[in-house]
Structures are given as structure tokens and as C-alpha cells.
């Protein structure tokens, strides 16, 4: 087999697509490939901008209602609950922002091996970065407990807290189980494929 001859023949193969408008329409119809790309890009930017604005409004709003608010009806429990929710919210915002910048810094420019390693990380059921979800959960739990404790009524505080904790962790367990099932159904097979491909690079 003559590789040079084969390579020469291979390079003779030309794309049937003549120009960028040939993909999806023409510029007159405003549906050219470039136009579609620009619209997608603008949409994505708008979406993330909107998300950040909502986070900021949410954080400031919560701060105002639960912490700074001088309303005497607002109990100390409400204030502690509000603080817990704000902390959880801030951690989530930071995590989302980090995730967004990771997505933005497209891994399509990485080497093939690095690209697959990144893909592997994103398909794992559990990765190190997700450890931050533990404090988020604990703050949400604490916030919810303080918030609900106002409505225990005749229940003993310890019994109330115990019942709430049981319900909270049960619901979380169900969520975890459903998440795991969904991951097994949709992502596990892909993860195995990626790992098999990565193995090629190690051999």
C-alpha cells in the first residue's frame, strides 16, 4: 500500500458545500449559517445575563427581607433561616458561575486526550467539585429546619426537628435514587465508552 499515493487521492476529495450560505439558506432570507450562529450566540449571552441578574436580585431581596428587615414579627429563627438560605444561594451561584466559565472555555480546542478526559469528568456520577453540594445541602437543611420550627405548634421541638429531618433526608434519598437511575440509564454507557477510548491512549 503506497501511502503517499493514497494520501494524494485522499486530498483530492472536495467538500460539496460551496460557501457558508449553502448550509441552511441564503442571506436574503436571513437564514444563512452565519446568521443562525450569530442568533444562537446572542441568545446564549442573553440567557446567562438574565440568569446573573436573577441571582443578584434574589440575593439582595433575601438579604433585605430576612436579615436587614426591622419588622419585629420576624423571629430570630426566620433570620437564621434566611442567612442559611443566602449562604447556600451564594455557594450555588459561585458554582454555577464556575461551571459556566468551564463551558465557555470550550474544550474543543484541547488535545484529543484532554478532551476525552474532560468528557469523562463531566459524565461521572460523582466528581470532586460536587463536594460543594454537601455544605449547600446542610445550609438548606438548617435554613428549612429553622423556618419550619415556627410551625411545630403543640409538637415538642425535638420531636418536630426529628420528624422534619426524617422527611428531609427521605426526600433527598428518593431524589438521589432517581438521579442515580437516570444517570445509569443515560450516562453510564457513554462513560464506559469514553473510558474505553481513553484506554487506547494509554496503550
Amino acid at each position: 500500500m503506497n501511502f503517499e499515493a493514497l494520501s494524494k487521492k485522499y486530498k483530492e476529495l472536495k467538500s460539496p458545500t460551496k460557501n457558508t450560505d449553502g448550509f441552511l439558506g441564503n442571506e436574503e432570507q436571513n437564514t444563512s449559517f452565519l446568521n443562525i450562529l450569530q442568533t444562537q450566540e446572542a441568545d446564549a449571552k442573553r440567557k446567562y445575563k438574565r440568569m446573573y441578574i436573577l441571582y443578584a436580585i434574589g440575593a439582595v431581596g433575601y438579604l433585605g427581607i430576612f436579615i436587614i428587615n426591622t419588622d419585629p414579627d420576624l423571629t430570630i429563627r426566620n433570620r437564621i433561616a434566611g442567612t442559611c438560605f443566602i449562604i447556600a444561594f451564594v455557594i450555588l451561584s459561585v458554582l454555577s458561575r464556575k461551571r459556566f466559565s468551564e463551558i465557555k472555555r470550550s474544550s474543543f480546542l484541547d488535545s484529543q486526550k484532554q478532551f476525552l478526559q474532560n468528557a469523562r469528568k463531566s459524565y461521572l456520577f460523582w466528581n470532586k467539585q460536587q463536594i460543594w453540594l454537601v455544605p449547600v445541602l446542610l445550609f438548606v437543611n438548617a435554613g428549612a429546619t429553622f423556618s419550619v420550627s415556627n410551625h411545630f405548634g403543640n409538637l415538642n421541638i425535638l420531636t418536630g426537628v426529628f420528624l422534619f429531618q426524617a422527611a428531609f433526608w427521605c426526600l433527598l434519598g428518593i431524589g438521589f435514587y432517581m438521579g442515580k437511575r437516570e444517570w445509569t440509564k443515560k450516562k453510564e454507557a457513554i462513560l464506559k465508552k469514553i473510558e474505553a477510548m481513553l484506554l487506547e491512549f494509554e496503550q
Partner: protein
């Protein structure tokens, strides 16, 4: 037309054939090939901001092309079938009718059928060798050492030769 659009159109003109050949190595049905071709240029557009050094344009384009092809073919469960259509004849593509009369000969068809059956890393290495890239560039794109590229290339060459002969005999 702004600078980004001009740059994109220029990159498209200069690289559409390269990208098309990479697409042919990964998928063979015309529909999927067109989808992949479009997906690669979508990623070229999205990453245009990171494109600075013109001397490395080939590496840059190949990296995006190969990673997009892997992503298209392998990373999504429902896309698996896309890369298994190796039996579909590349010559039956209506869009390429004009081109194939003179360019796509039997040997090219066999070659693409064969390349399509190779594992992902071997597929990338052989496609890049056929594109005329040196081992150092291939190492940079794939992320393995230059020595490893050399060793793997010799193995793939033997394997490809054997597979192509088997394919020829089958036909």
C-alpha cells in the same frame, strides 16, 4: 460584514475540504456527514475568539474537527448509529454527485469504509497522516507523545493494509 464574519468565511473557504474529509472518516451517510460538517463549523465560529496564530491554523482546525467528530459519534447514546453506517455507500450521496464522478474512486470508498471501522485514536492518526501532517503535529492534536504516534502509525498501517485487502476481496 464584521471582522469575525470575514475571518470565518476565510477559514471556511480554506478549510472546508479538510473538514469534509475528516467528516468522511468518521461518518459516511450524507445526512450525518452534513450534520457533522455543520457542527464542526459551528464550533469553529464559537472558538474564533481563541484563534490568534495563523501559522497554527491547521492544528487548530483539526483539533476542533476531531473533537467535534468524537463528540458527535460517541458521546451521545442516541448518536451511536451515526457512526455505524459504514456500509452505506459514500458514492450514493446526491450532493456529491458531481464531485464523485471524478474523485471518489473505488479505492477511496474502501479506504473510508476501512478507516471508519478503526478505533477512535487510530482513526484520528491515520486521517491526519493522510492529510499530510507530521508526527509532531499529530502528537500535539491527539495528546500522545511523538514516539507513540510513530509506533502506532506503523501498527495502523499494517492493520489498514490487511483490512483494505479483506475489504477488496469481499467486494
Amino acid at each position: 460584514m464584521n471582522t469575525k464574519e470575514i475571518q470565518f468565511k476565510q477559514l471556511f473557504e480554506e478549510n472546508k475540504d479538510r473538514v469534509f474529509r475528516i467528516c468522511c472518516s468518521y461518518v459516511q451517510s450524507s445526512q450525518n456527514r452534513d450534520d457533522l460538517f455543520q457542527e464542526i463549523f459551528t464550533n469553529v465560529w464559537k472558538n474564533l475568539g481563541s484563534f490568534r496564530n495563523e501559522s497554527h491554523v491547521n492544528t487548530w482546525i483539526y483539533r476542533i474537527s476531531i473533537n467535534t467528530a468524537i463528540n458527535y459519534c460517541r458521546l451521545q447514546n442516541n448518536n451511536d448509529k451515526r457512526c455505524q453506517e459504514i456500509k452505506q455507500d459514500i458514492l450514493s450521496d446526491e450532493d456529491a454527485k458531481l464531485a464523485r464522478k471524478t474523485i471518489l474512486e473505488k479505492e477511496i470508498k474502501i479506504m473510508f469504509d476501512t478507516i471508519n471501522r478503526l478505533p477512535v485514536l487510530e482513526k484520528s492518526i491515520i486521517s491526519l497522516v493522510l492529510e499530510g501532517l507530521d508526527h509532531a503535529k499529530i502528537a500535539e492534536i491527539t495528546g500522545i507523545s511523538e514516539g507513540n504516534v510513530r509506533v502506532k502509525f506503523h501498527r495502523i498501517k499494517k492493520k489498514l493494509k490487511q483490512m483494505m485487502e479483506e475489504q477488496k476481496n469481499e467486494l
